[in-house]
């Protein structure tokens, strides 16, 4: 069923991608400072912008009046001159490197959601023909970005919810209220994800990580479906971090048997053993984490992309179907994909946790046949 779902999903994704590309190509009347986002190019840019992390919490804009509604977030960057902090409002919603923030000894600007430090002496960013900044370089950005806010929000929600559940057990063995909803989920992760994959004896040690990751991803995926517009699990840095956690955990908890089987596989000709060792190592160090991080990232990014594109149909199809027709189509399709996205939100959290526990299970397994 899962495979079928993925295939369906990919098909829908590709269809939308292809059709979207054609809109983008057909869009010739591109105007730079429009009142509303109504051309394919602007829509494309808007979606691209949404998929990226953002330095301010933007809810909606009135482009005609040039007003943006939302709130700015703190920017914390490590520059060549040390740590600099200021509010993102200093950039005045500029994302193209036009506004340069002077912090005394360093000049900072923001290009495509990335903070750049201008090289010494430069006062404005210059771009080459591929729109790469030539006289500025990226800085290490510890800002409380929208994604960080999302993570903190998810963390707080999780903490409050599950501490409530934990406290509920002091009153009696059967939880009440929100705990009644959360308890089956915890049992589900324990009995259907951790236990069968890791084994009865060793699963307990990894429950902290697996449960946290499962609910963290799920809540963030669901937050991504709200109009607040988080796209935390669509940030490759976030999924990479999660995957690396899994790798670190299974490498450090690998049993003697695991290392013996990985590095010097018994039962095969000696000449093949180094080859197998290389394959196994590449598998455990690169392929498995990569599959984890890309799967989550791609699914969530694709989901956001599809939903936003379908919402945009109301504009892009207006000429062919009229306002009512395009809005209706957009509504029906967006609703349909959103429902699928609710499922995908759970599915991806499940798959990530499932595969993590599967890999951990491989690493901690002890063979007794030799």
């Amino acid at each position: 069923m899962m495979a079928k779902q993925s295939i369906k999903f990919i098909v829908v994704f590709l269809l939308v991608l292809v059709s979207f590309k054609s809109f983008a190509d057909g869009g010739s009347s591109h105007h730079e400072k429009g009142n509303v986002i109504d051309t394919p190019q602007e829509i494309k840019d808007h979606i691209k912008h949404h998929l990226k992390d953002s330095h301010d919490f933007h809810l909606f804009s009135d482009n005609a009046a040039g007003k943006h509604y939302g709130f700015s977030l703190p920017v914390i960057v490590w520059t060549s001159k040390g740590l600099k902090t200021f509010m993102s409002s200093a950039f005045h919603h500029d994302d193209a490197g036009h506004v340069v923030v002077d912090k005394g000894d360093v000049k900072l600007t923001k290009i495509h959601s990335k903070i750049y430090e201008l090289n010494a002496g430069a006062t404005a960013v210059t771009f080459d023909d591929k729109h790469h900044a030539t006289n500025a370089h990226k800085v290490l950005d510890f800002s409380i970005t929208k994604s960080v806010v999302g993570m903190l929000l998810a963390g707080v929600l999780m903490f409050l919810g599950f501490v409530t559940l934990a406290k509920g057990y002091k009153k009696g063995p059967i939880p009440t209220g929100i705990g009644r909803l959360l308890e089956p989920l915890v049992i589900y992760v324990r009995d259907d994800i951790a236990r069968p994959n890791i084994g009865e004896k060793k699963y307990r040690k990894f429950m902290g990580f697996l449960l946290t990751v499962f609910f963290f991803i799920w809540i963030l995926n669901l937050l991504g479906l709200t109009p607040l517009g988080f796209n935390v699990t669509g940030q490759i840095a976030v999924t990479a971090c999660l995957a690396i956690f899994t790798v670190v955990i299974y490498l450090f908890s690998g049993s003697k048997d695991f290392w013996a089987h990985t590095l010097w596989m018994p039962g095969v000709p000696v000449i093949l053993r180094p080859v197998l060792a290389v394959i196994e190592l590449v598998g455990f160090l690169l392929i498995k984490p990569f599959s984890l991080l890309v799967r989550l990232f791609a699914n969530m990014t694709a989901g956001h992309f599809v939903v936003m594109s379908l919402i945009a149909l109301t504009i892009t199809l207006k000429e062919s179907f009229g306002a009512v027709g395009s809005t209706g189509m957009s509504l029906v399709l967006a609703l349909f994909i959103s429902v699928i996205e609710v499922l995908v939100a759970f599915l991806q959290a499940f798959i990530f946790t499932m595969l993590s526990s599967l890999f951990i299970g491989m690493a901690v397994e002890e063979h007794d046949h030799h």
């Binding site: 290490l140 501490v163 406290k167 902290g208």
Partner: protein, 166 residues
């Protein structure tokens, strides 16, 4: 790929790592540990309760088997008692009958004896009365006979004659 790498933000990566470590630690300490402990406690509690229930069921079955056995025994005993009682009754009735018969026989015998006695007494009485009457009659006859002197002498003579004969 280049776009992916370009999108990768090391700062966000570090923030995420820090948040995740803190979150795992906090969740493990304040949520997962108590929750999982409570769950396993509850599960072992349920298991124990189920085992206890199973045991109670077996006990109950044993008890019922015992009860049935006791009931059976009681029934046998009752039947035996009834049988005994019936036998005793028969015996009592028999005894009573025998005794009654004996008593009746005795009474009849006594009655017969009494009747015999009475009869004898009556006969004796009758005899006495008959003899008195005879004497009276004899007296009267004799008085009439002895109203003259000759006859008296004749009688004495005859009686004396008889007496000698005896």
């Amino acid at each position: 790929m280049e776009m992916l790498l370009n999108d990768f933000s090391p700062g966000l990566f570090i923030m995420q790592a820090v948040i995740l470590v803190i979150l795992i630690f906090l969740m493990a300490k304040f949520a997962w540990r108590p929750i999982l402990n409570s769950l396993s406690e509850r599960e072992s509690g349920i298991e124990d309760a189920l085992k206890a229930a199973e045991k109670a069921k077996i006990d109950m079955e044993n008890l019922q088997a015992n009860n049935a056995k006791l009931l059976q025994e009681a029934r046998t005993e009752r039947e035996e008692m009834l049988k005994e009682a019936r036998e005793m009754k028969t015996k009592l009735v028999e005894d009573a009958k025998t005794e009654a018969n004996e008593t009746a026989a005795n009474m009849i015998a006594q009655a017969q004896a009494a009747i015999e006695g009475e009869k004898k007494a009556a006969i004796a009485d009758l005899k006495a009365q008959v003899s008195n009457l005879s004497i009276d009659i004899a007296e009267k006859v004799i008085r009439t006979e002895l109203s003259n002197k000759d006859k008296q002498v004749a009688l004495v003579e005859s009686m004396l004659g008889e007496a000698t004969l005896n």
